[in-house]
Symmetry: C2
Amino acid sequence: MPGRRAAPRISESTVRRLSHYYRVLEEVEAEGKRLISSHRLAEREGVTSAQVRKDLSCFGSFGRRGLGYNVAHLRREIRAILGLDRRWRVAVVGVGNLGSALLLYRGFARQGFDVVAAFDRDPARVGQKVGDLAVRDIVELAAAARGGGFDIGVIATPLRAAQDVADALVAAGVRAILNLAPRKLFVPAAVALRTVDMTVELETLSFALSNLAPPRPRRRDRRTT
Amino acid sequence: MPGRRAAPRISESTVRRLSHYYRVLEEVEAEGKRLISSHRLAEREGVTSAQVRKDLSCFGSFGRRGLGYNVAHLRREIRAILGLDRRWRVAVVGVGNLGSALLLYRGFARQGFDVVAAFDRDPARVGQKVGDLAVRDIVELAAAARGGGFDIGVIATPLRAAQDVADALVAAGVRAILNLAPRKLFVPAAVALRTVDMTVELETLSFALSNLAPPRPRRRDRRTT
């Protein structure tokens, strides 16, 4: 591929699907397979094969009719599109239960995300080691961000502190934030923000359980989310 | 309100917004406010006030023109709609870093979700206490589920075990699953499944960072996600 193409306008949901295709391609490559059909990719992701072909055609036509996609090539292409052909440095702000779990989780590093710093404002936590990292005082956050110490800030603080931390990250020039605190955060349009709120997910399950029809005989149709 | 109404057909995204409104109403009630306008609710959630009124009108008209919504009443209504007027029992399967963090997190209990059981297949973990709970052997999972021991199963296993655990939960009659393993799971249509995949979120941030325009002068528009 001759250098990086200009990014086409693609939706967040397309990016999410690319991320899932990438995961499938990694698995399939590890199994030693060289080719994969759009049908197989679709089946693994619970989407239609037409959707797969449409998603992938956004970036040029990689597949060959009747043969399918070259697994290694397609994986490399998606890797480049997602920006995973480099490593990203992540700082975790808030080292409670969830923050600590993220510091100890090795799956992020496998996907190119290195947790390089951890901050907390609790003096009892500052200086403690969690995994390989010593927790730093949150007053050092802005200087670390301004110095280019990390690319992505993960907010794992209690909800009342979350907006202040987001504001501090933005003011220090951080342009990508993953928010795990259970509240909406507001950031400038130029900053990429994603929110993961497990309580909201549990509440949608609560709604579903409260409103589901009573169990019916087992059906063979399966769906995904 | 005369009993629970028949559930209207509402989308998952509406349920998510209701969950967020509920959170705002809790905060506002704690501040001692009695009334809230659709405009204020919208502002806190980054949606339009027309959207708020539309969402809430699905369940009957609670607001009074010019006065706004009665905070305590609206909170109770949404609580009932979301099925949060009862407590739900949650089992966590997989007590690694993330599973342990969930067992120690007190925020779920505040919202009506009691973590009542934890399972793992690693003999080194079985019998260990995490918070107040002793980790049980995963071979006991089906019996615990069949006995009605819990309502919601949270899958926090490594990705290779996740589908097997989902199949076991479904076979044992569990009808709501929160999947935190980084892969798509397949369940029958009658089972409610939500997936939280932090790696996918990080990858959408990686994509955004790779494709964002260079930083521009600070703008005052703020957006939310």
